[in-house]
């Protein structure tokens, strides 16, 4: 027997109580892990952003159009390295509920500016660039709908309509891409802007947002100012933001999600804190006599204190690790589900954070009982027994 096994024996003396308390902690950390990775996945868009990329949108709102001519005018601004633009498609496959993030883009500049983020085999990229009616699709999307290279795929739009009144665009799948820069499922489709622009019945020669790569992130502010100033008094005033800020604004629109997340995780942990600290306190009260005996045998009070505190810490660490393990398992399982909208990943810092919370939980639940054990008077403990 060692001190470690003594702690373990004390902890597991009532199997039922141990199991119930462990389960409560398990649940709290399961939620903690899942919700943290969920929050991270929601904000993945902000992570994909490169430091030197800016997004130019209509100053009124990013859903308002910009004239296509702005693309060439922005190219001439000093410090701008590359420019591309994207037009929202409002696309879906077969039925409106099969909604797809779709953009009409200028393929060559689009692939150039996102070279580090979009992983597409060179021959597929070439095919896409050369095929006016071509499109590329995210691997997750392709898997979800069973699309294969070369397939002719009817993509519908709830916005754009062709001059013949049709709202369906027949596109050839020229490439399937992955997102290489962050852990996020590769969703969405991209088609040729020229094809959309020529065939659509209204909105010609307008686009949605213009993305630029600057020569140096240090020039970002200067360039953004230059762009916005140039178009300030035109009918289409612009607003230029970093890509990170632009992407983050989508999540902010949903409401204060992080507040909800903090509240729920906080409530769960608070609940568990109450349960565990009570159980620990009760357990120590019941062991008053035993602790007295241990002290009589020569165990110093600080050793007894350490034993009890270790018990609480061990409980929190075991329950917490099991919960985090289950969250990891859940995240892994969902990653294998085709079309699951988010990729949940338990990043190292989430593990680290959970470890911190486990230790805090262990300390909060163990300190008072350990202190009570520390103070137990041997003589008094005997008269009670």
């Amino acid at each position: 027997m060692t001190r470690g096994s003594l702690i373990w024996k004390n902890l597991t003396r009532s199997r039922l109580r141990f199991a119930l308390t462990l389960f409560a902690i398990f649940i709290a950390f399961f939620l903690f892990g899942l919700i943290q990775s969920f929050d991270r996945a929601l904000n993945a868009g902000a992570d994909i952003a490169a430091a030197n990329r800016l997004v130019v949108s209509n100053k009124i709102n990013f859903t308002q159009p910009l004239p296509l001519s702005y693309v060439n005018r922005i190219k001439t601004i000093e410090g701008v390295d590359m420019v591309t633009h994207q037009n929202w498609m409002g696309s879906y496959y077969q039925e409106p509920r099969n909604f797809i993030f779709g953009f009409a883009v200028d393929p060559e500049s689009f692939l150039a500016i996102y070279a580090d983020d979009i992983a597409l085999p060179p021959e597929q990229a070439k095919a896409f660039i050369n095929d006016r009616r071509g499109m590329i699709a995210g691997a997750n999307e392709a898997r979800k709908y069973g699309w294969k290279l070369g397939d002719l795929i009817p993509i519908s739009s709830n916005i754009w309509e062709q001059t013949d009144g049709s709202k369906t665009w027949e596109l050839v799948l020229d490439g399937i891409f992955e997102i290489s820069s962050v852990d996020t499922p590769a969703n969405g489709i991209y088609l040729h802007y020229d094809y959309l622009n020529e065939a659509r019945s209204f909105g010609k020669d307008s686009t949605g947002t213009i993305v630029i790569a600057t020569q140096d992130p240090a020039l970002n502010d200067e360039i953004a100012n230059a762009i916005d100033t140039r178009f300030l008094n035109s009918p289409f005033a612009t607003e230029t933001r970093t890509e990170a800020a632009f992407n983050a604004s989508f999540i902010e629109q949903l409401g204060n999600i992080s507040l909800i997340i903090i509240s729920v995780v906080g409530a769960a942990l608070f609940t568990i804190l109450i349960i565990v600290s009570n159980t620990m306190a009760m357990s120590v009260r019941e062991r008053t006599g035993e602790i007295g005996v241990m002290k009589a045998l020569g165990f110093p009070a600080k050793t007894v204190f350490a034993l009890i505190l270790s018990e609480a810490l061990l409980l929190a660490l075991i329950g917490g690790s099991l919960g985090m393990g289950a969250a990891w398992l859940m995240a892994t399982v969902t990653a294998g589900v085709p079309g699951f909208p988010l990729r949940l990943v338990l990043y190292p810092d989430i593990w680290l954070m959970s470890l911190g919370v486990m230790i805090v939980l262990g300390l909060l639940t163990g300190l008072l009982p350990a202190w009570n054990a520390y103070r137990i008077n041997i003589a008094a403990a005997f008269t009670r027994a």
Partner: protein
């Protein structure tokens, strides 16, 4: 003024030496004096039974001798060490080295098996795992329970549990054993076995034993009997 000194030993220094010890408890507002200027000497290798009515101070005496409780005045020296001013942590270490406790209700840890219960005090030593195991085996052999090492307390009879408790008390080889009604919860036959074991420990291993008991039968196993009454000792030689 002078209290009756139980015995002036011929040995150079006695194992236990109490000088003018006083102890007062405060209970519901009134002071209850248990001892006033108590003196006592016990030499090494003695086996003393302490008898007396309830409230005569038997348990308080045991607590004082075991370093569990402190005297208000006077000095308590055991094995050449003065307990009165020892810090709590030194007192803990001293207890682990010098004293073995045997209780009426055995006080074994319910979640530990017999061997682990015996091993418990050894966790405070620097002994290696294998050395600890060897000591536990020896202690269990001495009390005749080597074949019950893996049993948990609730699988053992009362007598067996008390033997485990005795093994726990002797495993770290202390000089002094303090027994509080060790047979109080046992039937007569089992009690006799336990008392014989204590006698054997005193005789063959030279343990000094102080045993508090109500039972005159039990007291007969001791070398001498001290009667405590209202905080004073009255010695009676055994008439066996």
């Amino acid at each position: 003024m002078a209290e009756n000194i139980s015995e002036i030993s011929s040995a150079p220094t006695p194992l236990i030496q109490l000088r003018d010890v006083s102890k007062t408890y405060r209970k519901s507002g009134t002071d209850i004096t248990i001892f006033h200027n108590l003196n006592l000497e016990i030499k090494a290798g003695d086996f003393v039974a302490v008898m007396g009515p309830s409230g005569s101070g038997k348990t308080t005496l045991l607590n004082l001798l075991g370093g569990i409780d402190r005297a208000d005045a006077g000095s308590i020296a055991i094995n050449d060490e003065e307990l009165t001013h020892m810090s709590e942590s030194r007192l803990s270490r001293w207890r682990a080295d010098t004293v073995g406790f045997i209780f009426q209700f055995y006080n074994l840890m319910p979640m530990l098996n017999a061997a682990s219960n015996v091993e418990l005090p050894l966790l405070l030593t620097r002994l290696s795992r294998s050395e600890r195991r060897k000591n536990v085996e020896t202690a269990l052999q001495i009390v005749g329970l080597e074949d019950r090492a893996g049993h948990s307390p609730k699988e053992l009879s009362g007598g067996q549990q008390q033997r485990v408790a005795i093994a726990r008390a002797i495993v770290s080889d202390p000089k002094l054993l303090l027994c509080d009604e060790p047979t109080g919860d046992l039937d007569r036959g089992t009690a006799a076995e336990i008392l014989e074991t204590l006698q054997m420990l005193n005789r063959d291993f030279g343990k000094t034993i102080i045993m508090v008991t109500h039972d005159p039968e039990a007291a007969r196993y001791a070398k001498r009997v001290l009667h405590l009454d209202k905080g004073h000792f009255i010695e009676k030689e055994l008439s066996s």
